[in-house]
Amino acid sequence: MNGAHDLGGMHGFGNVNPEQNEPVFHEEWEKRVLGLFVPVSAAGPFCVDEFRARIERMGATNYLSTSYYEHWLHAFETLAVEKGVVTKEELKAGKSFTPRGESMPPVLAKDVPYISSHGSSARIDKAITPKFKAGNLVMVNNNHPEHHTRCPRYARDKLGSIEKDNGVFVFPDTAAHGQGDSPQHCYSVRFDAQELWGSEASEKDSVYIDLWDDYLTLA
């Protein structure tokens, strides 16, 4: 999706303004949103690609005028409804209209240390032949899918070189839309800054982007 979230190379957002001695959270509600990530994604299971896809569909002005944790909240609400865990009416009312379920035990406080220190890798332990190897020159396919993708717009139709094969990973374009993991190799691909941004960029500089087999063609 060529959306407002695909910010690489955009202009007009002003300077970076780092906050000195920034606290971990600025608002109490931000903490609750962070803390809900693990329980919510366990309750009506979704993967990070589904999560990102919902945020990207917020609409450009909504996306750009809301904060990180508001993006998360939007995704939680949307996915909880999509997955049938809650209804919109329940979210509006702030109360459950159906009896407490029995089947799905919630994440408990005692499980949190294990979960947070283990996470859930998107790496897939499967022997799949890579299409490319380190040193190969590759062109990024000039696709403009409306669905979720992790191939940023600024890299499309650009020439890069495979720096390293990261191994086999879930493919976001399908996983985001319930179309399976489509496991495939994901590579670190090196691009000259001038290839991406033209001759005004420094010839010394480069950008490394992680890209999957399906995004690339041997040059």
Binding site: V16, R100, S117, Y154, N166, S206
Partner: protein
Amino acid sequence: MSDHDHNHDHANSRPLTDVELRVKALEQVLTEKGLVDPSAVDALIETYETKVGPHNGAQVVARAWTDPEYKKRLLINGTEAIAELGYSGIQGEDMVVVENTSNIHNVLVCTLCSCYPWPTLGLPPVWYKSAPYRSRVVSQPREVLKEFGVELDKNTEVRVWDSTAELRYMVLPERPQGTELLSENELSSLVTRDSMIGVEVLKTAESQGVSE
């Protein structure tokens, strides 16, 4: 926010904002359905507010500065080497460490969202998640670094790492000159979050006045 009975913030008794009401409603509905245990939410918050943060990454950096074998392992397999020090998990399942040298400067970004290596750096600061940083650092890294006070020589190679996949990056900053006599522990106190993102170059111990 653990009191779900009133739509007021007791701390300053103002009405709740829309977003506060939405968060409260979501947690309340899921809790009533038995799908969320609020104490698990509390535990997660506590984890990222107090335990997981850039002090973790600083330990990794200090170890790499003082133990050449560890540094070698760290650059070959970041995930495993970082786990040796006890850091692992959510948003750091597959770690890659990139090394700054006298002529290579690495800097991290996630242009598409705000991917960040939680186990070593904690939760990302607002500026890292903001449109100005995400839009500009990938196309104008030197200008952005200048705003952070980092003036790079034109012969220095800048490498921008855009975290588009599930790899999470962390910069191993250069060890400042004049720190030869410091212990690993003292060294770790020199290492800042920003130096591990790549928007800061660590000063010598003297100029920071760290050896007191």
